[in-house]
């Protein structure tokens, strides 16, 4: 049973002013997220992903459709009934959204107060969280005295204070530099692995998806255009939007300027071989080419690792007679995906 079930949801925001049309942020979205997963939702800004994630803790209500969390239809609850639900769902934000009038300690304590946790239990829980995020020394600092990475770690500690089963991360690393991004992603990964927290990650960066997500949904114009295991999406993206995202960190079939450079250097035939682990062997490809007396040179592409599995796209410039090349390619097609680059 999926812990989060989003069924055929639409969300229309009322027109902001006279003469403006109401805008649809979500347009028939269905999504199931399993317990214990790290589920990534990727899309450009305006794709509707922030609205989608806010349906889960009911910060937004859908215009139609339903949202169930732990079999409770949160989209049907009134604001006053949502306290219980929200205590079970932590949220971290791009801009951290810490309470500036409270210390690090006070920020982490706030959800405990809202939850009505007895005061004598606060100390133990807060120091446990401070140790977990590595901010013991900053307990009595105010947010404006912290770096971005430290602020986000406070945000994560605050979101985890009431031991929620679900953590929503809304562009949690988008305001951070690459090094800090890695630290925060590693922390989120530990949250998932050590506490079994289901994490929903919203991002526009494919690197974030590759680092921590198990499954991913790609959003465009308020719709989910593709969803699946992260490895499958990386190895064989189907939708156009997905291909664009994957291409930001994976070089596949050369296109555009890269292709022109290759063409000018290699007048012969250029072919891309795509591999996904488990079902192909690169050596079979190279062996076949060698046996057919086809010369080859690796000119583009690479091998990638996602979730400890490898896949890659190798582009070779081939030399030899057309007949030899054609017959070699024909037999290779049974073990790898072959794309002749025009």
């Amino acid at each position: 049973m999926a812990i989060i079930q989003i069924a055929d949801v639409t969300k229309v925001f009322a027109a902001r002013g006279r003469g403006e049309a109401p805008s649809a942020a979500l347009d028939g979205v269905s999504l199931d997220i399993e317990r214990g997963d790290v589920f990534g939702i990727i899309g450009y800004s305006g794709a509707g992903k922030s609205t989608l994630v806010r349906l889960i803790n009911a910060l937004e209500k859908p215009t139609s459709g339903s949202v169930h969390v732990n079999d409770v239809e949160v989209s049907a609850l009134r604001e006053s009934q949502l306290r219980e639900v929200r205590l079970g769902i932590g949220m971290v934000f791009q801009q951290f959204n810490l309470f500036n009038s409270r210390t690090v300690w006070g920020n982490i304590e706030y959800p405990l107060k809202v939850a009505g946790v007895p005061k004598e239990q606060h100390q133990a829980r807060i120091s446990e969280l401070l140790h977990f995020v590595g901010l013991v020394d900053q307990a009595h600092a105010y947010p404006d005295q912290l770096s971005g990475g430290q602020k986000q770690r406070v945000g994560i500690a605050r979101a985890l204070a009431t031991s929620p089963a679900i953590l929503l991360a809304d562009e949690a690393t988008s305001a951070l530099d690459p090094e800090t991004t890695r630290e925060v992603l590693a922390l989120l990964k530990r949250v998932n692995e050590e506490f079994g927290v289901t994490i929903v990650v919203i991002t526009h960066e494919m690197e974030v998806i590759r680092s921590i997500a198990h499954k991913v949904a790609v959003m465009e114009n308020g719709r989910i255009v593709e969803t699946g295991d992260v490895f499958d999406i990386f190895a064989a993206p189907q939708a156009e939007a997905t291909k664009r995202f994957v291409s930001t960190i994976v070089t596949s079939v050369p296109e555009g300027a890269a292709l022109e450079v290759l063409r000018s250097k290699h007048p012969g035939r250029i072919v891309t071989f795509s591999f996904a682990d488990g079902n192909t062997s690169q050596s079979a490809v190279f062996l076949t080419l060698g046996e057919a007396k086809v010369g080859f040179e690796l000119v583009y592409g690479g091998i990638n690792e996602v979730q400890a599995r490898t896949f890659g796209h190798l582009t070779l410039a081939l030399t030899g007679t057309d007949d030899a090349i054609d017959s070699a390619l024909a037999s290779i097609r049974s073990v790898a995906t072959v794309t002749e680059v025009k």
Partner: protein
């Protein structure tokens, strides 16, 4: 100068009256303005108790009464003062009028300062399950406290300024003292004595306000 020394008991009495009038007006106007300002903030579009009818009504009321020049306002609210404080003249009627005028001014100051609190911070409080009342008292007001203190200091100065029209409805205080015994009786020394004391009073209040705000904002 001799005349001033002669008037000294009246001068101190007038100072006491000013503190009484302005203090009470700030107390009642401050509280009412805080509530009205909160009302404006929480009912505006997209806020925690979004309600366009309540917001529209409050907004209309504030916009209607706030621009009325105080010298006219104080005369116009005399009937209401008779109902609430039992008299249309004197210090109590003046205090009532000042408190009412301050309410409208303060409500805008409060609304503006609350709007500087990042919406994301409010959203973070909602996301951990806090309800509207808890958000107002434990997040919204503490987050905006520094600017609010400065806003109230600003209004204190404005109320002291407005209190000078007291004579119009038979009220007292330093402003009235300066007009009555200084201006009307051609005694600049008396006028200046009152002016200097008002300046000192306002400097002290501004200094305290700045210090408090700085302590709260930690900068």
């Amino acid at each position: 100068m001799d005349r001033l020394i002669e008037l000294l008991p009246d001068f101190w009495a007038a100072t006491g009256e000013t503190l009484y009038i302005v203090g009470l007006a700030m107390l009642f106007g401050g509280l009412a303005g805080l509530l009205l300002g909160l009302g404006l903030y929480v009912t505006r579009r997209g806020s925690i108790l979004d309600n366009r009818w309540v917001f529209g009504t409050l907004n209309f009321v504030v916009n209607t009464f706030r621009p009325i020049p105080f010298i006219i306002f104080i005369a116009a609210v005399q009937p209401l003062a008779r109902v609430v404080v039992g008299t249309g003249i004197g210090n109590n009627a003046l205090t009532f009028g000042l408190a009412l005028a301050a309410t409208f001014a303060i409500s805008r100051i409060v609304e503006q300062n609350l709007l500087t609190v990042q919406p994301g911070v409010i959203e973070a409080a909602r996301s951990v399950g806090a309800g509207p009342l808890r958000i107002i008292t434990t997040i919204l007001l503490p987050e905006a406290l520094g600017p609010l203190i400065l806003g109230y200091t600003f209004i204190f100065v404005a109320v002291t300024d407005m209190s000078a029209v007291a004579g119009l409805i038979g009220g007292g205080g330093l402003g009235n003292f300066a007009i009555q015994y200084g201006y009307r009786l051609f005694n600049p020394a008396v006028t200046w004595a009152a002016v200097i004391l008002i300046i000192v009073l306002i400097q002290v209040v501004q200094l305290v306000g700045n210090r408090l705000a700085r302590a709260v904002m930690r900068r």
